[in-house]
């Protein structure tokens, strides 16, 4: 038996024995997500047990080094683990901006001390992280952030306001883009700071969206403080870290949107109008087929992106491509599902309707789609800017 087969066999046995039934075959819905943190909410006892067991093996972050709480698996082993989890319908044990966003940034730019301090708690789900990027005056022009950070007696003192902080009211810590050098060009004056949100200087206020959710917050910094050492990368180099993370975020939004949620569109069509009913509406059918074609293309493009990552041959512009395409397709798909479901489901209580109302936000978040087009024009095509 090859090493890889042995690993698969071993993993299969362990998963069978350790993945509780209550952590299997759960619908991919927000209420089933485990976010961990200092005050964790557990959808079920089984999911708590599942997270603890996975964290123990470092398998919440299979590819991170073992010394930082990871599983130390190579890409191939991680792929086997994912396949074996999918085989038994094992739910992802931990949803976390720490895993998706901050972790990769710390692994790339963090000091050894920062990695030891923060990564294991992220891996175990002990600390829940928020992202402090956008501001009321810095949306598409993210590098225009005005939240100020000043070094006073060995501590950063932060003042200003962030917005669209995902689950800001439920998070323990925040990584934030803060202007620490006000007198240099805007891209060079930003630092990437880490702050504990459990302090009087930080308050949050949820914002209700058109889909009824209030996951996004405004976050206010009023003489908030953090230790001088809590800066990732050099002072003034925060934009480099931010850009690295935005690549991750875009690919993530694109993939999540492209993969879609809920029933496949063709199944919705068959279950509502039916094949004959759909053929009687060629205009609608055409839009559905176009959307299915686009989704299939996205799926193949994501497969290629994973292959390219393995071969260290990534096209650096692909995250923008996936973000742009995935979110547009997702909007069109949710809109078509609504058209098929009919008028009685156009209520806030309907999951498909809420997905439709969530879809426009994805076209805006992570750099609006117009920003992605600007990025492609400037970086991929090297088209000149107007002076």
């Amino acid at each position: 038996m090859s090493d890889s087969e042995a690993f698969r066999a071993e993993t299969r046995v362990w998963l069978e024995a350790n993945c509780p039934l209550g952590a299997r075959n759960l619908p991919n819905a927000p209420e089933n997500s485990v976010w961990g943190g200092r005050n964790p909410h557990w959808p079920s006892g089984d999911q708590k047990l599942w997270l603890e067991r996975m964290a123990e093996r470092g398998w919440t972050v299979p590819e991170w080094p073992k010394e930082f709480g990871g599983g130390g698996l190579d890409k191939h082993e991680a792929a086997v683990l994912a396949q074996e989890m999918a085989r038994i319908g094992a739910h992802s044990p931990l949803a976390s901006l720490g895993i998706w966003m901050l972790g990769p940034a710390l692994l790339e730019f963090g000091t050894d001390k920062q990695k030891r301090k923060y990564l294991p708690d992220i891996a175990k789900g002990k600390v829940r992280w928020a992202q402090g990027y956008s501001e009321p005056g810095a949306g598409s022009d993210l590098a225009g952030v005005q939240t100020r950070g000043e070094l006073v007696d060995g501590k950063w003192v932060v003042n200003g306001q962030k917005i669209w902080t995902t689950y800001g009211d439920k998070c323990d810590m925040i990584f934030a883009l803060v202007r620490t050098e006000p007198d240099v060009p805007k891209h060079q004056g930003i630092s990437f700071l880490l702050l504990d949100m459990d302090q009087d200087g930080i308050t949050t206020r949820p914002i209700e969206l058109i889909n009824g959710d209030a996951h996004f917050c405004e976050t206010f910094f009023d003489n908030a403080v953090t230790d001088q050492a809590n800066i990732v990368g050099e002072r003034g180099q925060g934009w480099t870290v931010a850009k690295f993370l935005l690549g991750h975020e875009r690919a993530m939004i694109g993939q999540a949107s492209g993969a879609g949620m809920g029933k496949p569109l063709e199944e919705v069509a068959k279950g509502t109008l039916g094949v004959d009913g759909l053929r009687a509406e060629p205009a609608l059918r055409q839009e559905i087929v176009d959307n299915l074609l686009g989704s299939w293309v996205m799926q193949i493009a994501m497969e290629r992106m994973r292959d390219q990552a393995r071969a260290h041959a990534m096209n650096p512009h692909t995250p923008s491509v996936l973000k742009l395409t995935g979110t547009e397709l997702n909007y069109a798909r949710t809109e078509l599902v609504g058209a098929l479901n009919g008028i009685e489901t156009l209520t806030m209580g309907d999951g498909d309707t809420r997905r439709w109302l969530s879809a426009p936000a994805n076209c805006i978040a992570g750099g609006s789609n117009e920003i992605q087009l600007n990025i492609l024009a400037k970086r991929a095509l090297e088209l000149p800017e107007q002076k």
Binding site: K270, I300, A301, L376, L381, L383, E385
Partner: protein
């Protein structure tokens, strides 16, 4: 296999590009077109490509071939598209596929090495409808002769042999015919893109069966290959026209500014870039499926042809528009690509044909 070109494929692409840039610049295609030459491809170029093992490399090693797959053929076809290189590459690969699949040992020996060396051009006459319809086979094979009419035969003019699909009682077989015989009349379609394309009238033309009388599976496989190769050709054409356009956006000035600084144009170009990036993976996916004999090969070949036909058309329409007046002149090369994209797009099914096929066969709609 991974959806990334491997080292061999990258080397093959570089070598092909190098050879074609020397032996077949776009100006050579233009000169050939202007000469009115009936063959519409260059025998010298075919010989040069053959000498370098670039003609039908999908012929199996046991048949004396290079034994590479569809992906390798596509690498060559895609590079040829950049230069509009006038050589019968797709017809050779499709014929090789059919002969390798169906041919008797004698037929394989007589035909395959001659195709590979460029001495023999074998055209595939599989189409009977002006608008692609693979189900239509009304040509008949009866008493060892063929009767019927074929169309859209790629590289049919001047071909040394033809492979003709025809009904034999209730089955469809494939028949080898020498176009020089009585009862076989090949006529050129003066296609706008300068490609060698023909109709074939068969009026009691003597022919021999390739393999048995049931060639359905092999014909479908050859059509899948042809669709994927045309998708690769369209990718090369679209890439080339797109690169020309992006360069033009960087140099053309109006109102005292480079037109590429206008955001309206930037975003249109960026959208095409995004679609090209996505389409590249779809074309490679179809080729890998062909080489791995995946169950989804035929649908993936349709997807690739669908995506590339629509995208290449959109790229060329935008390319011409962004070039302005120069884009619609015959002396500027862009028009050659505009026309080629149209014909490559319609051969073996356009985007609408394949979207409908996928709607029914992939999604059951």
């Amino acid at each position: 296999m991974a959806l990334v070109l491997n080292d061999d494929e990258v080397m093959l692409a570089d070598a092909t590009r190098g050879l074609l840039d020397r032996a077949a610049p776009v100006s050579a295609f233009r000169a050939l077109r202007d000469s009115g030459d009936a063959l519409r491809y260059s025998p010298e170029l075919l010989a040069a490509l053959a000498e370098n093992g670039l003609v039908a490399p999908n012929i199996a090693e046991e048949d004396g071939g290079v034994g590479m797959g569809a992906a390798a053929v596509a690498v060559i076809v895609e590079q040829a598209a950049h230069n509009l290189a006038a050589a019968p590459l797709i017809s050779a690969a499709m014929a090789a596929e059919l002969i390798g699949w169906l041919g008797s040992p004698g037929q394989r020996e007589a035909l395959l090495s001659a195709i590979m060396t460029g001495e023999l051009v074998v055209a595939c006459a599989l189409e009977e409808a002006g608008r692609h319809n693979p189900a239509k086979v009304e040509t008949s094979f009866d008493n060892k002769v063929l009767t019927g009419r074929k169309t859209a035969v790629i590289d049919g003019v001047g071909a040394g042999r033809m492979l003709v699909s025809a009904a034999n009682s209730d089955r469809v077989g494939l028949y080898l015919v020498d176009p020089a015989v009585d009862g076989c009349i090949v006529e050129a379609i003066a296609a706008v893109d300068g490609r060698n394309l023909a109709t074939v009238r068969l009026d009691g033309a003597p022919a021999e069966a390739l393999g048995g009388d049931d060639a359905d599976e092999a014909i479908s496989a050859a059509i899948d290959l042809g669709r994927a190769l045309l998708a690769a050709e369209l990718l090369g054409l679209a890439d080339h026209a797109f690169d020309m356009t992006v360069s033009y956006l960087k140099e053309r000035k109006q109102f005292d500014r480079i037109i590429g600084t206008y955001q309206a144009l930037q975003h249109r170009a960026a959208r095409l870039y995004a679609r090209l990036d996505l389409a590249r993976s779809v074309v490679l996916k179809a080729l890998r499926a062909l080489d791995e004999k995946s169950d989804e090969t035929s649908l993936l070949a349709s997807l690739a042809k669908c995506v590339m036909t629509e995208l290449a058309r959109d790229v060329l329409v935008e390319a011409v528009q962004m070039h302005g007046g120069i884009g619609v002149t015959d002396e500027f090369d862009l028009g050659l690509y505009f026309k080629r994209v149209r014909v490559s797009g319609d051969l073996l099914g356009d985007d609408r044909f394949h979207a409908e096929r996928l709607a029914q066969e992939k999604w059951g709609l």
